[in-house]
């Protein structure tokens, strides 16, 4: 596979490490209410779609960016690649 890195252009997927669902960005508040329940759902339960999937990849053999890749899990077609930090901010993870 080839991942079109937003900063570096197309790179072989072999340079990357795959983590999993984009929702790993949405870490619950550990001091909040229902933290145990929220963390269980966050860490263990997955939509696991057959089709479009937003997932985290890490450019370990490259610039060490974390990326959010939108990819089809049936065809492996990649539609979009974003910097995970931008996605994290857009999902409300700024301080």
């Amino acid at each position: 596979m080839i991942i079109n890195h937003p900063l570096l252009g197309p790179r072989d997927a072999n340079e990357f490490i795959h983590l999993g669902d984009e929702s790993m960005i949405d870490r619950p508040d550990g001091m909040g209410e229902h933290a145990a329940k929220n963390f269980h759902e966050y860490l263990y339960l997955r939509d696991n779609p057959a089709g479009k999937y937003r997932e985290l990849w890490y450019h370990e053999a490259g610039d060490r960016s974390w990326l959010v890749v939108t990819r089809d899990t049936v065809t492996h077609e990649i539609f979009n690649v974003e910097l995970a930090r931008d996605v994290a901010r857009s999902r409300g993870r700024s301080k």
Partner: protein
Amino acid sequence: MRYSAFGILKQGLTGNKGWKPVWREPEPKKSYDYIIVGGGGHGLATAHYLAKVYGGKNIAVLEKGWIGSGNIGRNTTIVRSNYGLEGNQPFYEMSLKLWEGLEQDLNYNAMMSQRGILNLAHSDGQRDAYAKRGNAMLMSGADAELLDRAAIQKMCPFLNFDNERFPIKAGLLQRRAGTARHDAVAWGYARSADLHGVDIIQNCEVTGFQMKNGKCLGVQTSKGMIKAKKTAVCVAGASSRVMEKAGMRLPIESHVLQAFVSEGLKPTIPGVITYGAGHFYVSQSDKGGLVFGGDLDGYNSYAQRGNLPVVEDVCSGGMSIMPMIGRARLLRMWGGVMDMSMDGSPFIDKTGIEGLYFNGGWCYGGFKATPASGYCYAHLLATDTSHENASQMRLDRFIRGNMIDEKGVGAQPNLH
């Protein structure tokens, strides 16, 4: 029809014209006591044990395509009980014992071949971890031996003892482990289940569950509505997609695992060998092909195919530990979709929905588990209690913190 030496002789002498279909092709009835969703190895085994051991009646197995089309049709056929954790090992040892009697139980030769599995260790730490595991195996009633380098060299002189990047230090050997003819396992269970009155319905896809007041009353299928007192899902590889129809999210991701087979060769290696410092394991089939594999590709996939980096990684592992295979040719590569669970261990459990049961999350260890999985699932369906050997394989174990994480890599499915 029962298979016997006499039967084969008779058929051979009369032009093999008397062979009967191995299973019926019934139309689905309107309702069943038990519906097993998924005609793979585990589903068919469940039907067999449910009917034969637990006296279940009025059972149907619904299969979307052809029976055995799931991972029992595309695995690397290894059978073993060499786990380390209490939540797993007694279960897999139960499975191995069932394998040992399978041919007689089914009157079908699944070609179970107990030629052993040897896990190579390449550091003192790995050796000690194998010792710990081997002891756990012995405690469960299984067999295990810790071999030193000299014993391994005697057994497998073709391994790389001269120029290995990670020298072989020791190995964990289970002699009773081995391989079986994967498709035949599905066919043997199907045939036996059919003989015990189970309706095996192929080309019947479950499209939804019929729910009422939080209870599951049956399934909607491509062949119409079918009612069931108990609906048992057994569709590893597609678990998330099917259970989503019941509104459940699972601690499972789908990943692709590639496997490889070489051209047929005269007997080359004794049993199953796994390379502890690389991503490579290998056995040789009865037909002579070297059957081998390695790690997951690592990304979520439902595609049943993988990519080249893993192919090359696996083969370089193979060349490192077994440099004689360089001139053997890789004949075919394929991928299977694995139900990768969050701790690498499976589930055989009730769901929160009355009348709906779940079996899945087998990662890439489902084949060897087929008999025990079927047995324990049948036990659960018949008695509504977990079989003692599957008592930890529960869906709520992550809430409770009772993970069965053999590899110790945590909630990271692509690493298990």
